[in-house]
């Protein structure tokens, strides 16, 4: 079989345009799975720009997508999440599947003009989602 092997070895194993990391990505991060999405808004859209002076742009972000069956460590999910999934699949489908929700947040600084004309700088906790989890 040496001549077969030698002739085979001349053919490229993979198409030149093949992207290995992209290939593995589809296994590690299948499309439509639970992940963080941007939503940039300006306070002008909410008609609050006459008293929220800063920031001009605010991206609270949000979590969207399906929770995989075996969430394991990637989403920081407790074991309860897998138990809930098993209940949904094996015992009672009226029990909802685990949901894709924010798991960590970062604060936001806001500069506002108060009704009495004074000016306030405030830092609010949990205003920007920074990580998703399945719960």
């Amino acid at each position: 079989g040496q001549e077969v092997l030698s002739s085979e070895s001349k053919k490229p194993l993979l198409p030149t345009s093949f992207n290995l990391s992209e290939y593995f990505r589809q296994f590690f991060f299948p499309p439509g799975e639970c992940e963080l999405h941007d939503f940039r808004l300006s306070f002008r859209q909410l008609k609050w720009d006459n008293w929220i002076v800063a920031p001009h742009r605010y991206n609270p972000r949000f979590c969207k997508g399906d929770c995989p069956r075996a969430v394991r460590h990637r989403y920081g999910s407790p074991v309860h999440t897998m138990v809930q999934n098993i209940i949904y699949e094996k015992l009672d489908s009226s029990v909802p599947r685990p949901s894709c929700v924010p798991g960590k947040y970062s604060p936001l600084s806001v500069l506002t003009i108060e009704p009495d004309g004074s000016i306030a700088y405030k830092e609010y906790e949990d205003m920007i989602a920074t990580k998703c989890t399945c719960r």
Partner: protein, 273 residues
Amino acid sequence: SQTFGGEAKITPNAESESEVDPWSLLQLVDGADRSGLFPPLFKVLSDRRGESPKLQPDSRALYYMKKLYKAYATKEGVPKSSKSHLHNTVRLFTPSTQNKQASGDQVTGLLPSDALQFNLDRVAAVEHLLKSVLLYTFNTSIPPPSALTCLCILAIHESRSSPAPLSCTLKNHKWMEIDVTSLLQPLVDSSERSIHTTVNFTCWLAQPPHPSGPEGPLHMSRLVPPSLILYLNDTSAQAYHRWYSLHYQRGPAQGPDLDRRGTETPRLSRHPR
């Protein structure tokens, strides 16, 4: 729309749906105003949808606070991690009334003493005072000499303590700060919300007057009435507690753990299982 018989007829209307005010989503079904349930931000926001503030702030004050914002937060509004300050709230008040009690004395640079009233109603009970300064700006196109030395006598009518000589710190050629924390602390802690102050200045030059400035004594009477700045620590759950985040890993938006005795203990970073 509601017909006469009372049965509701739903007439889906494109523009009305697009105009749905985001705040109607937040109003509770029974319409009862339980805004106390909302975090302070939503309470403030839902109370003031779209209306502009009744009083517009002083432009110099707004300029100063915008510079402070740029120093404390990124363009996206995320607070910069800094150990230099522990306050999570800064409030700037401009005097609601001001009347001159006496004309200034140009010879010694003694400024006219100003009776100023500040209305601190916006300071919430959960906001604890950490520092407070009177901020003066020079209303002059000719920057004052850099080596300006001032001494001021500040009296606060509501305070039991006698007028105290305070040193003034020239922040740069535009601003001058007087630290009034020791005088204001007891008043803010006792929920005093209307403060009357009189300030007497004595300033002298440590160097010859500014070459292009007017000869003779320092023309200080062009100081703009000061703003009062309060550096506060908001202790409510919705406020960002910088010192807490620096020391403990916070879990996803949860409060501190309860240990077996039921007392609150801050959540330590979880060890990987």
